[in-house]
């Protein structure tokens, strides 16, 4: 009888151990219902200074200083030259159309843009009292957020300001650059050209 009682005690103890182990096993399968995470994403964008000329030529076409005038004024921003008899339009249609060099900031930093010519007015046009000027205006509103040379200024062989801060957003990053020439009546006849250099500096 005492032995039987011992067996029952052993049975109860074993069952208790099994139940506790079973509870532990079952709870290990219960899915987690909460959690949190924290991370860090880090990357680098390199800045690129870059300008381009979608239209790189202003062509005044062919013509001569009208007889009786001492000089002609050819303005690429105007379709009404003075003292100039045009015999053939330029490649973009001047003087029937206005004509500009179009300058775009296609980088991703603001640019301070300067302009210079490789020839003086005397070297380019020749004759008595020739002159050359330049100016610029926004092709896209808000392109130049700095000092814009909007009035005609002498075009020289030294760098001068065009726009001190040209933006790079696609919708506001383009300038029209216009030129004006004074062609004396005694300028020698020839096909003439002047190379214009635009230099961009990171702002």
């Amino acid at each position: 009888m005492a032995k039987s009682k011992t067996n029952w005690n052993t049975l109860i103890a074993l069952l208790a151990i099994v139940v506790i182990a079973a509870i532990g096993l079952l709870t290990s399968f219960v899915p987690k219902t909460s959690g949190a995470a924290e991370g860090l994403v880090n990357f680098t964008i390199s800045g690129a200074l870059s300008i381009t000329l979608p239209n790189s030529i202003v062509d005044f076409g062919t013509g001569y200083v009208t007889l009786g005038d001492t000089y002609a004024i050819l303005d690429s921003n105007s379709t009404s030259p003075t003292g100039w008899t045009s015999t053939a339009n330029g490649v973009d249609g001047w003087p029937s159309n206005t004509d500009y060099i179009v300058l775009e900031n296609n980088g991703n930093v603001n640019a301070n843009v300067t302009i210079k010519a490789n020839k003086t007015a005397s070297e380019f046009v020749g004759g008595t009292n020739p002159a050359q000027w330049y100016a610029a205006m926004d092709n896209e509103a808000g392109s130049c957020t700095g000092d814009l040379q909007s009035d005609y200024a002498d075009l020289t062989t030294s760098e001068t300001n065009l726009c001190s801060s040209l933006g790079y957003a696609d919708s506001a990053d383009t300038l029209n650059v216009m030129f004006k020439l004074q062609v004396p009546s005694d300028a020698s006849p020839a096909a003439k050209s002047n190379t214009i250099t635009f230099t961009a500096y990171q702002v």
Binding site: S4, G35, S46, S56, L74
Partner: protein, 76 residues
């Protein structure tokens, strides 16, 4: 003695049956694991460092052209 051995056999049988029943219950009735669904969040952080590694100066060239012809030719 026969009674006591019978109790030990009964004890082993009961224990074995219990373990088998427990195993069956545990393997057949456990819920399938479900994907973790966070119920709380902490803010992460995204940082960006924009540097300038390209050239700090760039030039490009345009052209002004004009063709001046003799007046005498046009005015004969």
């Amino acid at each position: 003695m026969a009674k006591e051995k019978l109790n030990e056999i009964q004890l082993a049988a009961i224990l074995a049956l219990f373990l088998i029943a427990l195993f069956l219950v545990a393997t057949m009735s456990l819920p399938a694991p479900v994907p973790e669904k966070p119920t709380s969040y902490k803010a992460g952080k995204i940082s960006v460092n924009i540097v300038n590694t390209e050239a700090q100066k760039q030039t490009t060239k345009g052209l002004i052209k004009v063709n001046i012809i003799p007046r005498e030719v046009k005015n004969g």
